[in-house]
């Protein structure tokens, strides 16, 4: 191999590396500009972020507190209740991103028991919107069906109006055959109510004088059949869990992007994933250095 060939080979390697760098930089700039990317490109980006070797694969379970619908609506000059339909549309997009990222379980905080304290008009409009969404899930063209999510409703069903409950049941029935992915919708839910229910069931199912431990209580939580929660995201910059998955999120990666839920973009989503992976590998290196388990 002559010196010319060596120079050519080196030049080729240099230009390939440069093109990868420019591609990454270019992609980052596109993401920062919040350009709407075609799905093919989004899938490639998510694949590059989540499925590289050595990362342990994509997060298995991610949760969202979809905060900020009303604030977004007010900023747009709309009525506060007009923010919820936009939030619903954003949810469907986010489910698609999660599917493309290989995330199998998504849990969302749709309606808290505390939210019943809102005005009757708002509660009614949310219930109506929820019913519309659940009815749509029964249809074949719906995104939840297309993404093959199995629907589960977590919460105190007794407080939910009858017609919404029936709609939920139909949607659960329509999606029960999907096995790969699960969408947990926390509706009429608080984490404390969940822990009380789990503890009560653990006590009732206790055999003899068995001592209850935290593993036994965990087995009775609403999310017992799901993997451990990897990431919890709350939009709108409010740094609280607000009675959502308190037990499950004890060791999860918490992210509080400033964007409201309707403004939560693919860029924000990828940012959270990059932070999750980046900090995890940094922590692993530190633990190895300190000989920590």
């Amino acid at each position: 191999m002559g010196s010319d060939d060596v120079i050519l080979a080196l030049a080729a390697v240099f230009f390939v590396c440069l093109s990868y760098m420019l591609f990454d930089v270019g992609m980052l700039q596109l993401l920062k500009m919040r350009v709407t990317l075609p799905r093919v490109l989004r899938k490639e980006i998510l694949s590059a972020v989540c499925m590289r070797d050595g990362l342990g694969g994509p997060p298995r379970h991610i949760a969202f507190i979809m905060d900020g619908n009303r604030r977004w609506a007010k900023r747009q000059g709309l009525r506060a209740t007009d923010g919820h339909p936009r939030g619903g549309d954003r949810l469907l997009e986010v489910l698609q991103w999660c599917m493309d990222a290989g995330i199998d379980v998504v849990t969302i905080y749709a309606f808290s028991i505390e939210n019943f304290k809102r005005s009757e008009t708002e509660v009614e409009s949310i219930m109506k919107l929820a019913k519309e969404h659940f009815d749509r899930m029964c249809e074949d063209g719906d995104l939840v069906q297309e993404c093959e999510f199995r629907l589960r409703i977590l919460g105190d069903r007794k407080r939910i109006p009858q017609d919404v409950r029936e709609s939920m049941d139909r949607a659960i029935e329509a999606t029960c055959h999907h096995r790969r992915r699960t969408l947990n919708v926390c509706f009429s839910y608080t984490s404390r109510d969940e822990m009380l229910t789990a503890l009560d069931m653990a006590i009732r199912n206790r055999s003899g004088t068995q001592i209850l431990d935290e593993i036994e209580v965990s087995r009775h939580l609403f999310t017992a059949e799901n993997p451990e929660l990897d990431i919890l995201i709350r939009t709108s910059g409010d740094h609280r869990l607000s009675d959502f998955l308190l037990w499950q999120s004890s060791f999860s990666h918490l992210a509080f992007p400033k964007a409201t839920w309707p403004e939560f973009t693919f860029y924000d989503f990828v940012n959270v994933l990059l932070e999750y992976y980046g900090l995890r590998s940094e922590r692993h290196r530190m633990d190895v250095k300190m000989n920590l388990p």
Binding site: N115, M195, L199, A202, L212, R240, L254, L279, R280
Partner: protein, 278 residues
């Protein structure tokens, strides 16, 4: 003498940088003067909890809390190192308070906007840890107002002093979290009267027990805010029952956490409204 001047300069600098960071507002900051009812939780990862340097920084943070008149400080780490080293921690707090009064004759408050007793001199500090038997909180050390000496109260049960001039420091372990909830489950399961009730009544009873905490094995109150120091943004296993409405501040490194950072967090907390679901 040089050290004294360094201390004076450092306090001036912290005060100035704090004023600039909080928007240049000089004068009373509304809310920071009434922190007596505040419950602050501090959560650290093993890297900070197991090292002397990390504990020294925690002691500094406790001292700031005392100076600002914060009522309760809950200290937690997931491996229980802080509770295990409680005696060492108490000694470090004592030493810090003595050194603080000797070498920093000027008021140590980085902000002149805090409570009138900003130097914390008249304030008591009470360090409490749940007993080894898991029953009750034992005060292991308490320094009464105006006294130089610390009273050693190891293993002696003392009712919690809820006075406006006391800062209570509670050392928490994972035992005060999920384990405590499960322990109460076992306790209730052995009560005949409990199992015979309806589901709603049982849940109400469980909630009452967790709230009243008769065995004093829970965290001892819902913190208003939690500052977590760790390489990962998480609450690291802090007792979950109490985190319902707690405002979370996730920081990377305790070593670089300054007094002005601390005041900025407190200011952000008091100015953030809680909507309670509305």
């Amino acid at each position: 003498m040089g050290i004294a001047w360094y201390g004076i300069w450092r306090r001036l600098w912290e005060g100035l940088s704090g004023a600039v960071r909080i928007g240049g507002k000089l004068g009373p900051i509304r809310g920071l003067s009434s922190l007596g009812g505040l419950c602050l939780a501090v959560c650290v990862d093993p890297q900070h909890a197991r090292t002397h340097e990390g504990r020294d920084h925690l002691v500094r943070l406790i001292e700031w809390s005392v100076e600002l008149g914060i009522g309760t400080v809950q200290l937690f780490d997931g491996c229980g190192s802080l509770a295990a080293a409680s005696e060492e921690l108490v000694e470090a707090i004592k030493t810090h308070r003595q050194r603080h009064r000797r070498w920093n004759p000027l008021s140590p408050a980085a902000s002149s906007w805090a409570s009138p007793r900003a130097d914390g001199a008249g304030r008591r500090v009470q360090v409490r840890i749940s007993g080894h038997s898991g029953q009750g909180y034992h005060t292991i050390a308490s320094q009464r107002a105006g006294e130089e000496n610390w009273e050693n109260l190891a293993e002696k049960e003392e009712p919690l002093v809820t006075s406006s001039d006391v800062t209570v420091v509670r050392l928490l372990t994972p035992r005060n979290g999920r384990k405590a909830i499960a322990e109460y489950g076992s306790w209730l399961a052995n009560l005949d009267s409990f199992t015979r009730q309806s589901e709603d009544d049982r849940k109400a009873k469980i909630e009452e027990v967790l709230r009243e905490d008769p065995l004093s094995i829970m965290a001892g109150g819902e913190p208003n805010l939690l500052i977590a120091f760790g390489s990962l943004p998480s609450v690291m296993g802090f007792p979950c029952w109490e985190l319902r409405l707690t405002q979370l501040y996730l920081q990377r490194d305790l070593r670089t956490f300054s007094r002005s950072d601390f005041e900025e967090i407190l200011l952000d907390h008091v100015s953030t409204p809680i909507r309670f679901g509305r």
